[in-house]
Symmetry: C2
Subunit: 169 residues, 2 copies
């Protein structure tokens, strides 16, 4: 699987009280770097990394158009890769790091996979401003999703970069 | 892809005012037959068929355990196969026939894929009675899903058969 590349994060990485070492920001930066690679390749600028017990066990970008697969969102592909990697159908205790706020489909898939926490960089409003508006789909969800998952917005200085450099808009 | 087997439906197939030729029941019977094959193989007794312009373009069973993939529900696998088959990312105008009521993940995936109508045989309560209770997941959804999809329950005499013969409970 793709390396998380989290050693490449430089000084100045954000850290919070809940994450004194800034590990969340480092994993999230690796997702943003993945999204940038997607953008450079003309693919949708979305990328996700699944981290379990401090290790990246899945990392993938959106391949919807590449594979003619409407379910091949970055988060779902990363979940599928992670489950293959650990030979299980559940990712209990894992955190999903996503370059942008997950859509309704990915939130439900994450909940079904037992993901406990999702950290994302750019929010859906920011993605919409950059030409990728998937907010209408959120109306499919009820409030129950927030009882299954902790959803945390961690904006980083680089959050918007994959979107502004994207050629797939 | 797997044939729809819809010519095998015998006399006595249910028909309704909306479906005078009983085609819905025939496609649904083919999904039930697929679920029975799953059950015979010790796999989860769920199967789905995607029909577009009167043709089965995708047909698949649940392979969650077989492939360590928590997203490999029958409906999602059938949608993925259908999109590959027609080389598109959307199934606009298609109907999904499912041996049992789709779970929350499959409903959202179907909506994202542009499926317009889902017809299912056994409802979630019936599946729960047979040992497969996925009703809690429905709480993840809001009412918006019903604005995207027409969801029709068409119980057939054979609806419960894959579940009672299942070895995977």
């Amino acid at each position: 699987m793709t390396s998380g590349n989290h050693d490449e994060s430089g000084p100045g990485t954000a850290s919070t009280g809940d994450d004194p070492q800034g590990l969340d920001a480092q994993w999230l930066e690796s997702a943003i770097q993945g999204a940038e690679r997607q953008a450079r390749d003309g693919a949708p600028p979305f990328f996700a990394v699944v981290v379990l017990n401090g290790q990246a066990v899945g990392a993938a970008g959106n391949t919807v158009v590449l594979n003619n697969d409407p379910t091949a969102h970055a988060e779902i592909m990363a979940i599928r890769e992670a489950c293959r990697e650990i030979s299980r159908t559940r990712l209990t205790g894992a955190t999903l790091f996503a370059s942008a706020e997950p859509c309704a489909l990915c939130l439900v898939a994450a909940a079904f996979a037992g993901i406990e926490r999702i950290v994302y960089a750019l929010d859906a409003d920011g993605a919409a401003d950059a030409g990728f508006d998937y907010r209408a789909g959120q109306a499919l969800l009820g409030s129950g999703i927030h009882e299954c998952l902790r959803l945390e917005h961690l904006p980083l200085p680089d959050s918007i970069r994959p979107f502004t450099s994207s050629r797939s808009r």
